[in-house]
């Protein structure tokens, strides 16, 4: 042990009640700290690196597929893992007594964990936007072998929404387990289109077949991307799943009616979105 000595003790300055912030401010402060930890986590950085590489090379034929968010799959997996670890941190490290003795309620800590997901989602949105401008220019029109395709903002939003969903799933799994590592790995299975009916990314009907090598009308399906569905409904479905996962995480400490209401809304959105926006027929490659 170090022989560091303790300096003579002076009576500490009073922490005035005015200096104490209310829960709302503390929630944002905690969210900022959690966001910074996510963005600096090596696993997340690795996932982002794996995702950005295809973006940089996503020119020509595969550009619409790239911009629809498919490259963010590795980042999503990494984020699920990282948020699962973060959400289980107190339980995993046995620090619950310290957390519980503080005035910040457990539900506020979960809310902060969910809010922190805005950071990776915004990062993905920004990178997608940059990639779109680089590939399609400011007029947002892709050209390949005389085929033209005007990018739609909703298609570009899928990456960010998907990232938010994976983070939310990580918070849900992590907040309910002490064994975060196996739980995180198990939760990753949620991201594999399970019964190939749910594609995580879709392109609408309007994309010319030259861009994806299939026939127009939606028979192009990959591991996580389908063509020929309603992008808007697909986004509704992803947002619904996110809301459902978030409310499930919150419900551990917050049984207020508004949480149940949000869960019901999330469930309805998820069902509607999956039914109308995530076409059956995705094929595992």
């Amino acid at each position: 042990m170090s022989t560091t000595s303790i300096s003579p003790v002076a009576a500490p300055a009073a922490w005035t009640p005015r200096a104490r912030a209310q829960h709302g401010t503390a929630r944002w402060a905690l969210a900022r700290v959690e966001a910074r930890r996510i963005l600096a986590h090596p696993v997340f950085l690795l996932g982002m690196a794996a995702s950005v590489a295809p973006l940089a090379d996503g020119s020509g034929q595969v550009a619409p597929l790239t911009l629809a968010g498919q490259p963010w799959y590795p980042a999503g997996i990494a984020l699920l893992y990282v948020t699962c670890l973060a959400a289980s941190r107190a339980r995993r490290d046995g620090a619950q007594d310290i957390y519980s003795a503080g005035p910040l309620a457990a539900r506020v800590r979960t809310q902060a964990a969910l809010l922190s997901l805005a950071a990776p989602a915004l990062a993905v949105a920004a990178l997608t936007l940059v990639a779109a401008i680089v590939m399609a220019g400011t007029d947002a029109v892709l050209v390949f072998e005389d085929a033209r395709y005007g990018l739609r903002p909703l298609e570009l939003a899928q990456g960010a929404v998907f990232i938010a969903l994976t983070g939310t799933l990580g918070v849900l799994v992590g907040s309910g387990t002490k064994r975060a590592y196996p739980a995180a790995v198990g939760a990753l299975l949620l991201l594999v289109p399970p019964v190939p009916w749910l594609s995580w990314f879709v392109l609408g009907d309007g994309v010319p077949s030259a861009f994806h090598g299939g026939e127009a009308g939606g028979d192009y399906n990959t591991f996580a991307l389908s063509v020929g569905a309603s992008v808007g409904w697909h986004l509704v479905g992803l947002a619904g799943l996110s809301t459902l996962a978030a409310t499930a995480a919150l419900a551990r400490h917050d049984r207020r009616p508004r949480v149940a209401l949000a869960a019901a809304g999330g469930l309805a959105a998820a069902v509607a979105g999956i039914a109308l926006g995530s076409p059956v027929g995705g094929v595992l490659l």
Partner: protein
Amino acid sequence: MTHATIRMTDLRKRYGATDAIAGLTLDLGPGVTGLLGPNGAGKTTLMRMLATVLAPTGGELRLLGLDPADPGERTQIRRQLGYMPQEPGFHRHFTAFEFVDYVAILKEMTDTRARHQEVRRVLRDVGLDDVTSRRIRKLSGGMRRRIALAQALLGDPRLLVLDEPSAALDPEQRMRFRELASSLGEERIVLVSTHQTEDVAALCRRVIVMRDGAAAFDGTPAQLGALACDRVWTADERDPRAQLWWRTAEGRHRHVGDPPPGAQLVDPTIEDGYLLVAGPTAAPEEMAA
């Protein structure tokens, strides 16, 4: 209006068929109060209830004049509470500064500049100002103990609940801890659970000895030591009539209990008084007659 007191009335905590706290009635005011007792006496259970992380099974508990069973009042208590658990549980990949800063946010300190100043202050007070950027996993057990103490000091709490704060500290650090706790106790309620009778003797105005979930002694350290007056003696051989005995470094046998006629009485210590009160359960088996 809140009152700087802790009031327990017939306080109970039951785990299955076991009464961890069995009808404890106590009032605590400002100053440092020491809590002694053998393992399993209910010290940590009591500390966790005073820290509002564990709810009593029965009885009444008021902390700083507030009821911890009421969610709103519980939050008010927690805003004035510093708690150092017996096993704090650290995020080992955090640096010392990051961990204490994180706990500071949990205590609703959200102004970054003021919070960082406060974090630096408490780390300085426990003598860790030169290791703030080191990861906790690389710190010694004693340093981690001091991080746990530092987070409890955040925000200048009116009520400090410290569960074995001096465990794993070297003699110099223990002395410094006593100095710190003593100064804190001038205006605050400081409750210290410990196995170190020397700590109690050095810094506590009041000492409570717990046994089987109840207070077996409540008084000053001097009164605790006085219980053993004329009840401690040494002899060349073990005396089976003693309540407790152990072999000293000099090869003699020190006994606590009712001395035989003509016994060579020695000056008692607070530890002798504690052993008399806590009984054989406080001593290793080989010490108990």
